[in-house]
């Protein structure tokens, strides 16, 4: 080996511990990101395309659930107070701004409930109508009490929930989806408390994409 090569390895030898600390930190962050994504799939219950956790806000939440909630749902209440179901994909396809969606439902056993659209940055989506959600009181319903919400960028008749680019720069988006939906059930009934994986929820259908 040449003396140049020896000098390089000697310098590397001196720097190996500071370098090791940096690499360990980077690897931990990388693995945690993966764990959070996996955790969302594995630590959260599924009910159709909706996901929820029984331990949001609770002392028995594991570290991954607690981290996921802190990042995307800080100050969530425990389930006796409110249950939160999120949906960021339909049949495995992430929610996109170039697609139109239809949410169909009826009434749910809770003091009140609402469906809100959030950008990938977890904040309300800027729109001219200043409409960010529908709740059990402000929906236009059919005679049978059932309702349809149409979700998309372009204006639609009836209950239209506008979506669009998030307020945060798109370049920083590391999510697969452009936006997501959050169903809140305040003071939920027993079906949600005891069987959150099978309790009745709205259905979300992808209508078309451009």
């Amino acid at each position: 080996m040449t003396s140049k090569g020896n000098t390089f390895f000697n310098r590397l030898r001196v720097l190996r511990w500071p370098l090791a600390v940096l690499l360990v930190a980077a690897l931990s962050v990388f693995l945690l990101q993966g764990a959070l994504k996996t955790g969302l799939r594995e630590s959260f219950l599924r009910n159709g395309d909706w996901r929820t956790s029984e331990s949001i806000g609770a002392a028995d939440a594991d570290a991954v659930v607690r981290a996921i909630v802190a990042i995307g749902g800080l100050l969530g209440s425990t389930r006796e107070e409110s249950m939160y179901y999120t949906l960021n994909s339909v049949a495995g396809e992430p929610l996109r701004l170039n697609c139109r969606y239809r949410i169909e439902g009826s009434d749910y056993d809770a003091n009140w409930w609402s469906i809100t659209a959030y950008g990938w940055d977890f904040y309300l989506i800027p729109n001219q109508e200043k409409r960010y959600s529908y709740n059990n009181e402000n929906l236009i319903r059919g005679e049978d009490g059932r309702w349809v919400i149409r979700v998309g960028v372009s204006e639609q008749e009836g209950n239209w929930l506008p979506v669009g680019p998030s307020g945060t720069l798109a370049e920083t988006n590391s999510m697969a989806h452009d936006f997501d939906l959050l169903l809140r059930l305040y003071t939920p009934g027993n079906a949600y408390l005891q069987h959150p994986e099978s309790a009745p929820l709205p259905t979300v259908i992808k209508e078309a994409c451009s």
């Binding site: 690897l27 931990s28 962050v29 764990a35 607690r66 990042i71 800080l74 107070e81 959050l182």
Partner: protein, 179 residues
């Protein structure tokens, strides 16, 4: 130490490191909220937010159907007293410690529906305090610092909710020193 061993140590430590990091995340995020709100509004004081819209950036996933008021508390100097009128529609008072756990809460729902129309007065005491030394409704915080969040339904006419939150207070309990 050989380079192979060096790489192995990095891989093992990196894998193990994700767990303390996951535990650290809620504390870091809560700390950021605590300091952001505390610096803006002061500690042990009630802060009533405007109705959430796209410009709302205090907390992720705000509900546009609720009005919020919060108090970032510090119990190092003693108990904090929270007063709040309870409106007819959905209302709750939730307490969070610095790891984000929702350790206590009261509401006007279910068996607590009788609170509607009353004035709630809660004395929030620190982890080392003896709750028996305080009268009335006492809640013990597991940590000296934390966040109390009021939620009130703003569906339809929000004036009742706004009046209730603006009429709420959070303040350090006065200490009476006998002479």
């Amino acid at each position: 130490m050989s380079w192979v061993r060096w790489i192995a140590v990095i891989l093992v430590c990196g894998w193990l490191g994700q767990y303390p990091l996951a535990m650290l995340v809620p504390h870091l995020i809560m700390e950021r909220l605590y300091n952001k709100v505390g610096d803006r509004t002061g500690y042990n004081q009630m802060y009533v937010n405007t109705r959430p819209d796209e410009t709302f950036r205090n907390v992720v996933r705000p509900s546009p159907d609720l009005l919020y008021a919060l108090c970032v508390y510090n119990l190092e100097q003693g108990a904090v007293v929270i007063n709040a009128p309870v409106p007819e529609r959905y209302w709750s008072m939730q307490f969070y410690q610095m790891n984000t756990d929702n350790f206590a809460g009261i509401s006007n729902q279910r068996e607590q529906h009788t609170r509607v129309g009353t004035q709630v007065e809660v004395t929030l005491v620190g982890p080392d305090a003896n709750p028996a030394e305080y009268s009335g409704e006492v809640i013990q915080s597991p940590t000296e610092r934390g966040v109390m969040l009021l939620r009130a339904s703003a569906i339809g006419d929000e004036s009742q909710a706004r009046t209730a939150l603006e009429g709420s207070s959070c303040q350090q309990q006065l200490k009476f020193v006998s002479t």
